[in-house]
């Protein structure tokens, strides 16, 4: 086979898979935004059909032969340019990953997790782990099987981490998460010692819904989100999805008594959206039109949500903007009061309500439980006790019931073991990218203070967005920061916030 011809054939296969995946993504978007209630069953069938077709497109004989060719050929040099070579290798990797999972297994997993999701909903509503445990046991068994099928060198959990964060391993994450946990404990001690409790009353004034959406849209437009190539709608849970680099959809939700839900929700999703809009158009309709990993994707949403929009500089610009919509609610608030209100540190039971610093403790405890479940060191019935003990020891809170404990998240019910670490990896990457940005663009904070986000967005695009999925996360992070994954930048960043709000404790 001739490399150029092989590459073109692979591109055709990827175009079909990519168009099917885009259609599936639109079905998913519509389901969360506009779909009428009675349509759910038919929609599930449609999504199942499209998923099966994506899988069969990537595992056809032609696709497998091309994958084998790209894996084994040393001869791509000179025939394909660097980007094409990376796309070809990505194609080969994805085809081989897809080919490993037998159809029978994919169907069985879909059935098991579909039933488990229904059971989880009931179990959470009734706060009864009993109602969920048999289903979760089956999910864990399926995921252990999946780890075996996917293969690993050291730890079976590595096979699941690899789905979301290619290259991540237990050996790498264990020491980072341990150090992060200890550093967080020190931070919490400092906060407690300070005796300071910033007021966040301003966040809970009455903010009418439509003005919230208008104001939040204006802020993400200033960030550079392109509304000619994207849009904003409402959904119960905010998300970002895309169907091409020119069609990126964000959603947000509204709480009239908490300005954070809509505003930070939309800024977070717009961080994902800027990533999707910033991918090189050259990667359109290939497997590389995607983020480098879940963790890298999350680093972009968290960069904008936390590092930019939870900085004090941001509020010198944003408060006057928001006051146009909420003159009474925000008339007397100063940037430093806002900064303190939105960065207040306080241990809490629910992950998605946690502040930037205690959040990681929620992830570390889930990571340890998942790892031990997959290694068969603990049993499903041990989870509530382990969970409650971990929350008590790391956050200092008693878990009143499982709905506020180990039943709070949907992830395990859909088989998403290996997914949670992405959230903390996103925080660590974002802090590393912040260091690199401040190094190369020391004026960044003053730009934020003036609402001039263009140079920062351009920097992120050049460093991260444009490459899509052509680099693995470790390689990308090394290119941008010159270093490997570390918790140090996040910890230093967290200390600077804590000292600013709670004093030099």
């Amino acid at each position: 086979m001739e490399p150029r011809r092989a590459y073109e054939q692979a591109v055709q296969i990827m175009q079909t898979a990519s168009d099917l995946a885009a259609a599936a993504a639109l079905l998913g978007w519509d389901q969360e935004t506009y779909m009428p209630p009675r349509a759910a069953d038919a929609r599930a069938e449609q999504l199942a059909t499209l998923s099966a077709l994506v899988h069969s497109t990537l595992t056809s004989n032609d696709a497998r032969e091309l994958a084998y060719y790209f894996e084994s050929a040393d001869s791509l040099d000179g025939e394909l340019d660097d980007t094409e070579k990376r796309i070809a290798k990505l194609f080969a990797r994805e085809v081989q990953r897809a080919a490993k999972l037998p159809d029978e297994f994919v169907r069985r997993k879909a059935r098991t997790t579909s039933l488990a999701q229904e059971a989880w909903k009931r179990a959470r509503a009734e706060s009864s782990f009993e109602l969920f445990s048999d289903h979760l046991r089956r999910v864990v068994d399926v995921m252990i099987e999946e780890a075996t099928i996917r293969g690993y060198t050291e730890h079976p959990y590595d096979a699941l981490l690899d789905i979301y964060e290619p290259g991540a391993t237990v050996r790498q994450l264990d020491p980072i998460f341990d150090r992060l946990e200890r550093a967080t404990a020190d931070l919490l001690d400092a906060v407690a010692r300070s005796g300071i409790e910033p007021s966040d009353d301003v966040l809970h004034a009455h903010y009418p819904a439509s003005a919230q959406v208008t104001a939040a849209r204006r802020i993400v437009e200033a960030m550079g989100f392109d509304f000619a190539a994207g849009r904003v709608d409402l959904s119960a849970h905010p998300f970002c999805t895309s169907f091409s680099v020119s069609d990126v959809r964000l959603t947000t939700r509204i709480n009239e008594h908490d300005i954070r839900a809509c505003l930070f929700g939309l800024i977070h999703e717009a961080g994902h959206g800027l990533y999707e809009q910033g991918i090189s158009p050259r990667l359109e309709r290939t497997l590389a039109r995607d983020g480098a990993s879940m963790g890298i994707h999350e680093s972009q949403s968290l960069f904008w949500e936390n590092i930019v929009a939870r900085s004090e500089e941001f509020w010198y610009w944003a408060l006057p903007v928001l006051r146009e919509y909420f003159p009474e609610q925000l008339g007397k608030t100063t940037p430093d009061q806002m900064y303190a209100a939105i960065n207040r540190v306080r241990p809490s039971l629910i992950r998605i309500e946690a502040d930037e610093i205690t959040y990681n403790l929620h992830i570390v405890l889930r990571y340890r439980i998942e790892k031990d479940l997959i290694a068969e060191r603990i049993k499903v019935e041990d989870i509530p006790m382990m969970w409650n003990e971990a929350v008590k020891s790391s956050l200092g809170i008693e878990v009143p019931d499982d709905a506020h404990g180990c039943l709070q998240d949907i992830h395990w019910s859909f088989g998403g073991l290996g997914y949670f670490p992405s959230y903390t990896l996103g925080k660590l990457y974002a802090a590393m990218f912040r260091t690199a940005l401040l190094d190369q663009m020391p004026e960044a904070p003053s730009l934020v203070r003036r609402g001039e986000f263009g140079p920062i967005r351009q920097w992120l695009r050049a460093a991260i967005h444009q490459w899509g999925r052509t680099f693995e996360p470790a390689e990308l992070v090394h290119r941008v920061t010159g270093r490997s994954l570390t918790e140090e930048d996040f910890v230093a960043y967290a200390w600077s916030k804590v000292r600013r709000i709670y004093g030099d404790v």
Copy 2:
């Protein structure tokens, strides 16, 4: 092969094709409602991929073998029930139709019509037939080729009619359309003789946009459109589409100085929507979850738009409802004034603005031109002269330019030759269904007067909707009315309206 097993295999193929078609329909809906502007190119690629996959699903070797089996088997009796037999035969017919069109031809037609659509837009904007004629010639050539590929017995145009109205032929339509044309001329004479010109000023008061949508939604909800299995959005051109019997989408448009655009637009689309919602759930994910034909589908939209909502009885109920939203605009209008305003007969140049009676003249002239083009009796360059002469002789108006003449419709540019007759067939079918309804439910007008639409909707569902595409149009019409297609019912209905408004002329 065993009939039951063959049927189940065919169902699986239809489920895949149907899910892909539903996804394509959602992509199309989104394109007209919410898609951001820059997404158009990627969306076109996605739609092309899904269409190609629907085609390849229906023309796979398995599908062809099953089609051959169903066509040739006499042995389905006793093994499959009536509905299953009809679905199997429909499957066979559609597979064989799809298999006739070579991939090369489908791609060439798509390319030709895609270019022609762009050229048509420019040509209409500049009112220059010159800019369109070369493209239209290529489209006509492609459609002549398609007629040959599809095959016909008497007239090549029959092959194109059959796409939209299975079984319809030139031999059948010629005399009906001739008689309809003469009857319409008599009606127009009577209107002119009367010297009466009803005022339609009330239609052109200022009607604020959001109240129009709220009021129109309330009216189609009263008709029985199920908002738990459907929704309403806005688009430049109103349409109805569906992704399952439980997911039917309507759109409408708003003109703040013409109450008709939104209201009659939505009632029309809801007529289509009630058809889609009324199809038996048994037909879900088969080729039979569809209307019997374009003409039958149009009969349902026109039944509600014209026969129900342009009746005098309707306005005894609807005026008080609309006055809740528009007390000043409609405060002094009586039902008979409204009836006259919305039924005023006046020849006009633009088809989509025509009244119920002159509308058919627009169709008849297009039908004759299409027929002669496909039979190669006239040339593309003859169209403007033929068109202008036909408008002059049948409508009595001079065509000032091609934008208001033969360039006004998009249909030819997308290769839709054979489509226009559906509109008039819809009117004729609707009038025939009206006769049958009045025969079986003489109280129907008094139900309409009270806004009690349930029994009428149930009658339409039982007679027409539930069957989906399991009957061909002629068979369905015969079951419901006991007769074959005729213009007589429409002509009688038109005379009764004309006499009511213009007196006994």
